[in-house]
Symmetry: C2
Subunit: 328 residues, 2 copies
């Protein structure tokens, strides 16, 4: 029901100029109704779809290249946690009223950079007018050897729980980004802000997870709540030692300044690290394989027969009410 | 950044109550990070993604069951035009502020009905807060025998152009729906309104297209503009006789009342019929196979060496400026 503005490129120019350069062969130049993909023989497909909405998942004034990169990366993180390698992605792009061509150009720059970095070509999608807020809805496709996708549900009591990288940088990075927008930026927080804006999907851990983990998921809604989800899906209880949760130097500084930041770090989400349950007899092999892959992993607890025991830094049980980010 | 309202179900209740019932086995109960799908051996995957936004692609006060059905059907229509059978879909659901549980329940009812009717189970997706407007972003996956997907680009000069069903009911149905919302409803227009609200994806024509068409696409942005796109993708010219375009009785009545409604019918979009180029030596076989499949097809023109000749009802060339719906 809307009409093209004369000063901005139309739909087909926009696709040709900004999206077609990152399209794979199956995208047919983004000029057909659909994309075609020949699945790798002997593979299962792994499919994930995560949307980002302005004002909910990013700030409208975030650099558009970083918005594009985050939209792809949060989906790639799901593939990594499932043990999958990327095949390609589809992009649903909702343009807000008053969109500007340079915003699209920036978004496409970021997407194209990560599409190339992660060997994940654009396969197709849809660009629509979306009202007041920009929206990116990415569907990513990956592949695993048939039958080998890591699930949340395979864990057993006694399995060790590991997490990759560091936890809390995303949640504290969001607070730092809010401070930055209010003119209260602290230079030392730049690494936290960047972790929030551009998460690091742990693709190098995909094969390690597939080979050694009994269950795995990506940590996107807060470590505590996500660990509960993995335990529940596996029909197990959960024991976590928060003193063992890996923290970056800057997150440690935030927690030293305000102990409540530990709660924010382990419940706030936006980590995009991998949480994996590993049978005890595979723990050493898992650790060695992760080291070879160049990604740090840290043991933070275990699956148990039943119940939930979260020990805080001083070894006393914690009972935080909101263990997890809620999407609405 | 939003918090659960106490009077509405939370994300996980909503998924369990309304979405899980239409989930296929690969969806893993919608409790994992990703879906898993074993592709049919010897098949190519066909992927399409179309989003609907409130106030752009549907009215916020349309019956939610019909919004759900349309969101799936416009994507299924792409599969049909490519000769593919559905494997499943992913749903990105953006909830506006103030969403109500009964709206979700209605939407899910419609989606579940069509998911069952078209054997297209829900595989996964994402539900997010979306600001002021509801948004549905569907990604559909289909399969064709390897190498057999119908493309827009395979047509040759001399190929006949066929279209399924009737053209213009969607565009005129939108006008009728607008009249209905303004209290100017005419009972006789109910079929047009329904065609606009609930398009009919021509799944039964998928195999016919694959077996006989040299090129095909679904008609969603206006017959005239879409025929130009197919001709251009095939490197051909185009000849259309608008007097041959199949019209429903009610659309004929609208055009009799206002001749400009012919332009609206052939440029307005929302038809979700199939446009197919068929080599002359296969034309009879195509017509017979379509008849066996129970779907009417009508010859409306041909691909030519070059140029564009659109003949109006009185056999004079027409030159309408906007041949196609523009998405923004």
């Amino acid at each position: 029901m809307s009409r093209k503005s004369p000063v901005r490129p139309g739909e087909f120019e926009l696709i040709a100029r900004y999206l077609a350069p990152m399209a794979g062969p199956g995208a047919l130049g983004l000029t057909d109704d659909a994309a075609v993909l020949t699945p790798p023989p002997g593979s299962d497909l792994v499919l994930s779809k995560d949307a980002l909405v302005a004002g909910v998942h990013f700030f409208a004034d975030d650099p558009p290249a970083l918005i594009g990169r985050k939209a792809l990366r949060v989906n790639l993180s799901d593939l990594a946690a499932k043990g999958a390698r990327p095949l390609g992605f589809l992009l649903g792009l909702g343009l807000p009223r008053g969109w500007r061509e340079d915003w699209i150009a920036g978004l496409a720059d970021g997407l194209a950079a990560d599409s190339a970095e992660f060997a994940c070509p654009l396969l197709g999608g849809d660009t629509v007018a979306a009202g007041s807020r920009a929206m990116l809805s990415v569907t990513v496709l990956g592949a695993v050897p048939a039958g080998s996708m890591a699930r949340r549900s395979g864990g057993k009591p006694g399995d060790a729980l590991y997490v990759s990288g560091t936890i809390g940088d995303g949640a504290l990075g969001l607070l730092a980004r809010m401070a930055e927008r209010e003119g209260r930026a602290v230079a030392a927080d730049a690494p936290l802000v960047l972790r929030y804006l551009v998460p690091e999907p742990r693709m190098a851990l995909a094969q390690v997870v597939r080979n050694h983990a009994s269950a795995a998921m990506d940590v996107s809604d807060g470590l505590m709540g996500d660990a509960e989800k993995l335990a529940a899906a596996s029909g197990c209880g959960l024991a976590l030692q928060l003193s063992d949760v890996p923290l970056s130097p800057r997150s440690r500084a935030w927690i030293a300044a305000d102990p409540d930041n530990l709660r924010r770090a382990v419940t706030g989400g936006d980590d995009y690290e991998i949480l994996a349950a590993v049978p005890p007899e595979r723990a050493t092999a898992f650790e060695v394989a992760a080291q070879v892959a160049g990604i740090s992993v840290t043991r933070i607890g275990a699956l148990t027969e039943s119940g939930k025991q979260i020990l805080g830094p001083n070894a006393t049980p914690v009972h935080w009410r909101d263990a997890s980010f809620r999407h609405f």
